[in-house]
């Protein structure tokens, strides 16, 4: 019985640690992305956004998504990939309004994805 109790404690501790780790990782990654998107959005509104700005967002996302594959479904990662790629193309061709719209979607996804991992009734059901 002692062995069973210890195994329960260890397994529960692992799950709890994993849950906290996941929460921190997700929030940090997506918060960093949101800050970067906000900066680019301001530049797009001013008309000062350059190709380098959007490429820096894309490279930041590529760096972050490597770690995120462990926690979130790969289809959601692919979705952000596509929206960022579209926004990049619009910035390159100087279509700032369209790029803004695409980045708004990316921002919304970055805000919503971590919420789907929080302990809420709607997520449980």
């Amino acid at each position: 019985m002692v062995k069973s109790v210890i195994s329960v404690i260890v397994a529960t501790a692992l799950i709890a640690f994993g849950a906290i780790w996941e929460n921190v990782k997700l929030n940090n990654a997506f918060n960093e992305l949101i800050v970067c998107i906000d900066e680019i959005n301001l530049k797009l509104e001013d008309g000062t956004a350059s190709k380098d700005d959007i490429l820096s967002l894309q490279s930041l996302w590529i760096k972050k998504k490597e770690g995120l594959h462990v926690y979130i479904p790969h289809t959601e990662i692919k979705e952000i990939d596509l929206w960022i790629a579209e926004a990049t193309t619009y910035v390159v061709y100087g279509k700032n309004d369209e790029a803004l719209a695409k980045l708004e979607v990316v921002k919304e996804l970055c805000e919503q994805i971590p919420k789907t991992f929080s302990v809420r009734l709607e997520n449980l059901l």
């Binding site: 019985m1 195994s7 799950i15 462990v70 979130i72 479904p73 991992f117």
Partner: protein, 228 residues
Amino acid sequence: MLIIFIRAIIVFVTLIIIMRLMGKRQIGEMQPFEFIITLLIAELACVPMTDVSIPLIYGIVSIVAVFILHQLLTIFEQLSVGFKCVVDGKPAVVINKNGVDIKELKKNNMDVSDLIESLRGTGNFSLDSVYYAIYESNGKLSVLENENAESEEDLPLLLVSEGKINKKNYSLTELNENIFDNFLKENGIKKIGDIEVMTVSGSGKVYLQLKKQKYKITEIKLKEGVKW
């Protein structure tokens, strides 16, 4: 991660309740919760392996959740007999010295024909060939054999179960209404609904159990040369 953990708990508890409600019929030789764990783990391990869009950690966390629940149930079962009864169920004595306990059979969602089928699995073809028959909590039937019971050459057929005639078996015995009505009169039976269990063997030996009465072994005259 917590979401998967909690969802796994919800599915586990739901399955436990469902399996307990189903009674012993649906279970093999495992305890109910062991059966559930076997089902769950196979599925949990399978889905993330086949669907690459799902992170592998989802499957691992779910399996760990099931493992924790299994360990907790084992601990609580060791600590409390009452808890063990709730989770695993308790043995059901379906044949006692008075005969078949229909109430106990019904509690486990079974009828007399199911009992006879299980009895055959233990090598006993007649209801009076055992003193006691017990459905263990793992669904297996254990019997205390009646050494004094006569060995039979013919397979006993279930003729009446819970007041209802088994028409197929009735036709196999080739009994006609007169013989059957006489049999009922001789045994003081006003209507078939009063019979809880009645089996007939090829030699005409009858296992008769009336409602709220102890069973008795009697005889009925079958047509000559009737065999099944």
